[in-house]
């Protein structure tokens, strides 16, 4: 398909017919995405009453303890938070089955077989080693809790009025949290079980082939040819996950998107993409279905998490950087393609690969333009993940490293994994602030994709075709999957807020840990991988090289990211330390 329409991520539609709703991939992406999310709703929503009750009981047990002082976070405060986090809709038999069914290859270091298979003896040995490490950490955490309880009791006995006792309690609680964190990480490794992923991967591949094949058949393509071709795409997708699961690749931040494009391009430019595999090279079909699923995790209530300071850092800086970089890209750097410019701008200013995918699809970018943007993001993300925490540690005042540093990294490093790694390098608070700022930026994807779709439909395409664009023309040309993407975001945002209105924490338990993580996310990453493999298989090195002439994309990225770094730092400082210092003190 990508070949048939000039390699565009989204096919141009010049007129509207009702039959498009069952004949065009835009609409099939919407229907398939809706179907998966609806399944998630059917599976997880009946548990709302039970989880509501559990959360109410947790509130009743810990809320008083959690709020007995505002001088520091008490043990009850943390216990309330921990207990609420453990309430998850996908923590049932269907959720566990779905997780196994859709599981990617396991992590491995030097033995590639570990990605797919682990025998009883090896699992038992691994478990024994993990238990041996866990036991002393568990004992240390219990001892730290006892010390913290004693210190808190002393501070409470003094009515929380004694500064020294408050500080001692705060320190003891922080020690307990560190010990508890180490113990819980070690505990998760004691659950090692034998596995054989090969059967599950065959079942999952066959299900996806039928799932997408139905849509292909409805669109007038051969179901059988698609099924046969899909085997090839599926194997490369599994290979991409296999590579990304390798320990070194994880630490370098080289994820599945890179490997999917890399293996696809490697094959197409060496031995060639087999002709029989071409019917399953359906970049747009997979990417749009994945984006409809992504919509369910774009939850607007998330943006209130870190208050007004966060919204200014994430939602005011980002569009400013996007627009200025886009303008400079066209006016001064003279990027030959507006679509490449827009995709790089989103990739650099919003949140890397996810934003690049959404923008490329919304502005109808070419496959090699998306490839280039993703490549740029991966390179700069890896550099920034290492350099930024070192710079912050070396130059920022100690009292501002965690929050200002966290906000700066969250607002500028593209990929969430790298943001979390860089944040954790500075400390837990930096990790929380960085990851939350990035999460708020993630929510902006929906707004940006919608704006870009409207801008390109009404302005850029009108300029290219020389036609004045009326309301009907906008509708004809508008990428319809964006409607599904925005609609899922709105519906799940409303459901999320409604659940949280019943009891705080029900939204995350039902939506984040239910429909999103227990259903949409399980498949979304696979769909993006299928699309990246398709991009790679249809991309020629020479086509990619044309876009690199003069190094303009690099110059654009470097300009945009430098501007982003300056503006984010200034706004984060002003918002967190000048305008809302009292809010910052609560973090």
């Amino acid at each position: 398909m990508a070949e048939e329409n000039g390699g565009q991520i989204v096919q141009d539609v010049g007129k509207w017919e009702w039959s498009e709703m069952w004949k065009k991939e835009d609409w099939w992406a919407v229907w398939l995405g809706f179907f998966i999310l609806l399944m998630g709703v059917v599976i997880y929503f009946p548990q709302a009453g039970k989880l509501n009750k559990e959360l109410m009981e947790i509130e009743a047990k810990y809320a008083t303890d959690a709020q007995k002082t505002d001088k520091f976070r008490t043990i009850g405060w943390y216990q309330l938070s921990d207990k609420k986090k453990s309430v998850k809709a996908n923590n049932n038999s269907i959720g566990k089955w779905l997780a196994n069914y859709s599981k990617k290859p396991h992590g491995w270091s030097s033995n590639p077989l570990d990605a797919f298979f682990m025998g009883e003896a090896k699992a038992t040995a691994k478990k024994e080693r993990a238990v041996a490490k866990y036991e002393p950490l568990k004992a240390a955490a219990a001892a730290a809790l006892a010390t913290a309880q004693a210190a808190e009791a002393k501070a409470e006995a003094a009515g929380f009025a004694n500064e020294q006792l408050n500080e001692e309690a705060k320190t003891a609680i922080a020690d307990w949290r560190n010990a508890n964190l180490k113990a819980s990480k070690a505990k998760s490794k004691t659950k090692a079980k034998p596995y054989n992923q090969i059967g599950w991967l065959i079942l999952l591949g066959a299900s996806f082939a039928v799932f997408f094949g139905i849509g292909m058949k409805a669109m007038g393509k051969s179901f059988t040819k698609f099924l046969i071709a899909f085997i090839f795409i599926w194997l490369i997708s599994v290979l991409a996950y296999f590579a990304s699961a390798q320990a070194t690749m994880k630490t370098y931040g080289i994820g599945y998107a890179f490997w999917a494009i890399f293996f696809g391009m490697l094959i197409s430019n060496t031995v060639g993409t087999p002709k029989w595999a071409m019917p399953a090279v359906q970049t747009e079909y997979y990417i749009k279905t994945g984006l409809v699923l992504l919509g369910a995790s774009i939850l607007f209530e998330k943006i209130i998490t870190i208050g007004t300071a966060g919204i200014f850092v994430a939602w005011v800086v980002t569009p400013t950087v996007w627009l200025v970089t886009y303008y400079v890209g066209q006016k001064y750097i003279k990027i030959p393609s507006k679509r490449l410019n827009a995709t790089i701008c989103s990739d650099m200013s919003v949140c890397g690969v996810s934003a690049a995918i959404a923008t490329a699809a919304a502005c109808k970018a070419k496959k090699e333009e998306l490839t280039l943007s993703v490549g740029l993001s991966l390179v700069f993300t890896a550099i920034m993940m290492i350099v930024m925490p070192i710079v912050i540690k070396a130059t920022f005042p100690v009292d501002k490293q965690l929050i200002l540093g966290g906000a700066w990294m969250g607002g500028t490093i593209d990929a969430t994994g790298a943001v979390a790694a860089a944040g954790a390098f500075l400390g837990e608070k930096a990790l929380y602030v960085a990851a939350t700022i990035k999460m708020i930026q993630n929510v902006l994807i929906g707004v940006m994709a919608f704006g870009v779709a409207i801008y390109f439909t009404t302005r850029v395409e009108a300029e290219e075709t020389g036609k004045k664009v009326g309301p009907m023309e906008i509708w004809y040309r508008f990428p319809k999957f964006v409607i599904g993407f925005i609609l899922t975001s709105i519906v799940f945002s409303l459901l999320y807020t409604n659940f949280n209105d019943q009891v705080a924490g029900l939204g995350p338990a039902m939506i984040d840990q239910g429909v999103v993580k227990g259903m949409g996310d399980l498949f979304r990453k696979w769909f993006f991988t299928l699309s990246f493999v398709s991009i790679g298989l249809a991309t020629n090195f020479r086509e990619l090289k044309e876009h690199l002439v003069g190094g303009k994309p690099f110059i654009l990225y470097i300009f945009g990211q430098s501007f982003n770094l300056c503006l984010t730092l200034i706004v984060a400082y002003i918002m967190f330390y000048v305008v809302f210092p009292e809010l910052t003190a609560t973090i």
């Binding site: 070949e3 709020q67 976070r73 405060w77 938070s81 609420k84 590579a243 990304s244 390798q246 070194t248 690749m249 994880k250 630490t251 931040g253 994820g255 197409s268 430019n269 060496t270 993409t273 995790s297 998490t305 208050g307 007004t308 919204i311 200014f312 939602w315 005011v316 569009p319 627009l323 303008y327 949140c351 996810s354 290492i386 350099v387 925490p389 990929a415 969430t416 994994g417 943001v419 979390a420 790694a421 954790a424 390098f425 990790l431 929380y432 990851a435 939350t436 990035k438 993630n442 707004v447 940006m448 704006g451 302005r459 705080a504 924490g505 995350p508 984040d512 990453k525 609560t586 973090i587």
Partner: protein, 116 residues
């Protein structure tokens, strides 16, 4: 077998490059990458932090990282308990959203039609 867009390359050469490339990837993962880590300033520390916190550096989206869920729970509860006056749709907060939308609207509306 060859895709029409592909460069002309003999089967033998193509397979040789493919196999060597896959072997190089494997070699990077198990040998070159870990060796290189010690020569990249700060890398060893980052790797230790990632291993201790079980962070996948290759994750692209917030739902793929446990730290985002933990951060959300921590900050949400902190705001609700310690700064309720700043929590929710306050006037400054709404103004932030409006400014964002105004920037986008003005930007997309008034970007020069042809600035190239």
């Amino acid at each position: 077998m060859q895709n029409e867009n592909n460069p002309v390359m003999s089967k033998k050469k193509g397979w040789t490059i493919l196999i060597i490339s896959l072997f190089m990837v494997y070699l990077f993962g198990v040998s070159i990458g870990p060796w290189l880590q010690q020569y990249i300033y700060g890398m060893e520390e980052i790797v230790a932090v990632m291993e201790a916190n079980d962070i996948d550096g290759g994750a692209y989206y917030y739902t793929e990282i446990e730290g985002a869920a933990d951060g959300y729970a921590y900050l949400d509860q902190s705001m609700r308990f310690f700064a309720p006056e700043h929590y929710g749709l306050t006037l400054p907060f709404i103004s932030g959203i409006i400014i964002c939308l105004l920037i986008l609207y003005s930007g997309f509306r008034f970007l020069p039609r042809s600035c190239d």
